[in-house]
Structures are given as C-alpha cells and as structure tokens.
Subunit: 104 residues, 2 copies
C-alpha cells in the first residue's frame, strides 16, 4: 500500500526513526535516551496526525509484528520498543548500531 511504501522510505532515508505518542512515558524515555546520546531521531507522533495515526500503526504492525509504541528503527532495521532499545544500550551494542547507521 501507499502508506507501507512511505514507512519503508522513511526508515530507509533516516538513520534513526521513532514512532511515538506524545503522552506516553515509554515513548518519552526512548526519545530522551537518544537525546543523551546526542542522536536526533526522526520522531513521528502517531497521535498528532489524525486518522493517519491508527492507519500507520496498522502498517507498522504488519511490517514488524509490533502494535505498541514506541517503535524504533535504526539503519532501516526494526529494533523494537523502549525496553529493547535500553537493553541494547546497557549491553553497549546501541552505539555500534548508531555509528553504522550514520555512515550508510
């Protein structure tokens, strides 16, 4: 679908993408982790785009199997949610993924 193509293009064209909801604390937590790492993700606030929000969430669920927010992509790869991203950071693996994504 057109929306699916948009999502695929967004995650390919931007090193880090976070699909979020403005009022969700887990979404805020993952955004502030990237801030601390001096990374400027592309943030798409699903609750600020009217009817397209839920449609986008359905596309994300089809593409990733994940219907929850935050939904994080790095270097075009699906990372998962907040806990997944924080775990990678704790293991020191997030920085390598970010460095690799920046150079592509």
């Amino acid at each position: 679908s057109r929306l699916e193509e948009t999502v695929k293009k967004t995650i390919t064209d931007n090193p880090v993408v976070v699909y979020s909801k403005t009022w969700c604390s887990y979404s805020s937590e993952v955004k502030s982790l990237f801030n601390r790492l001096r990374v400027q993700p592309l943030v798409v606030e699903l609750d600020q785009m009217g009817a397209q929000g839920p449609q986008l969430q359905k596309v994300l669920e089809r593409l990733t199997g994940q219907h929850t927010v935050p939904n994080v992509f790095i270097g075009g790869k699906h990372i998962g949610g907040c806990t997944d991203t924080v775990k990678l950071h704790r293991k020191g693996e997030l920085e390598a993924l970010l460095a690799e994504a920046k150079n592509t």
Copy 2:
C-alpha cells in the same frame, strides 16, 4: 459530586489504590512493583469503565492536581505517579508507608 465521594471512599477504605490504564507500561510498572512487595493494591482500570473513566480522571485531577496515570494512593494519602512511587521505594520510605496504611 457523587463520583468525588466514591473516590474519597475508595481511597479511605483501601490501604493501596492504583488508578491505571491497562495498556500503559508505567501503570504496569507500578503494579508489578506492588506485586514484588507482596502488596495487593485495589486497581481501578480507567479504560475499562466506559464513559465513567474520563469522568473519574477529571475528579482525580480536581482532588490531586494530577491528570496522568498511574495515580497512586497509600493510606488515603496521594502519592503521585510511577516515578514518585519508585523513588519512595528506592529511598526505603515506601515500606513504612505501606506498613502504616495496612494497620489503619
């Protein structure tokens, strides 16, 4: 209002009360903290009670100044949200509040 009286009665009659939303991870986090402390809070899921949910949230905002979930009460006292409850636990103050609430 009638709803305000209900909330006041609920927080007086139950040692620990958590106003929550089923799909919110911060609400789940505070519920699982109480679980780990072998405390059985009264949990009120605001998204499972139809139109009463948002009305209850307005009452909670009037009574506590807090419109967000989770909204935690111990021994009739307003504690705050997830981060507030976790902070008290880290400082070792949550157990004392819980012990005091149980005996009232």
